[in-house]
Amino acid sequence: EAGVAQSPRYKIIEKRQSVAFWCNPISGHATLYWYQQILGQGPKLLIQFQNNGVVDDSQLPKDRFSAERLKGVDSTLKIQPAKLEDSAVYLCASSLAPAPRDTQYFGPGTRLTVL
């Protein structure tokens, strides 16, 4: 079974530029999550989708971050404009049904560096 795919794996941008990350969850997984993991910390949930609807985006900085999951499969997370403090690893995860009932499976992450 293929795992959660993410691209790109690494991205370096200047502050105030825009960036987008892509995630393809495990086939059949209805729930998709985006996490931000700052160096030295545990991941923090940014947004959770159930199919193509948003379940929780309470910790998403909506003035600069946006995410979509148009067809209930792939998802894109965008930052516009980026700030220095956005440097982090962005993790995508998916589960068959909403956790904690079902296990979340994580992708390899995208490491973002903002200069």
């Binding site: 795992g3 959660v4 999550y33 030295g40 910390q41 545990g42 991941p43 923090k44 949930l45 929780d56 910790q59 993790l91 909403p98 956790a99 904690p100 009932r101 296990t103 979340q104 499976y105 994580f106 992708g107 390899p108 992450g109």
Partner: protein, 115 residues
Amino acid sequence: AQTVTQSQPEMSVQEAETVTLSCTYDTSESDYYLFWYKQPPSRQMILVIRQEAYKQQNATENRFSVNFQKAAKSFSLKISDSQLGDAAMYFCACQTQGGSEKLVFGKGTKLTVNP
């Protein structure tokens, strides 16, 4: 909202020995789940073990076991017969069924396994 505290930023163990990683948590919810995740260097996060709060029996997965002390809100991970491949960051996490329902992580413990 729940909080998770890992008081050991780094731990080390000799190969074939046993090591215990500590975790405490706090939540006002009565229905919750506890997890230990492993994040090897430059590799994706994987679930090591999970514990449902309503279960009194401690969870076990091969060489990994937990000591769940509900009254003390403690959830430690014991790794027996440590192997070089166990070297990684280990994150303790808590997710409630009801309430915020976010998966909340601790800051992690870096485990080094010495040959």
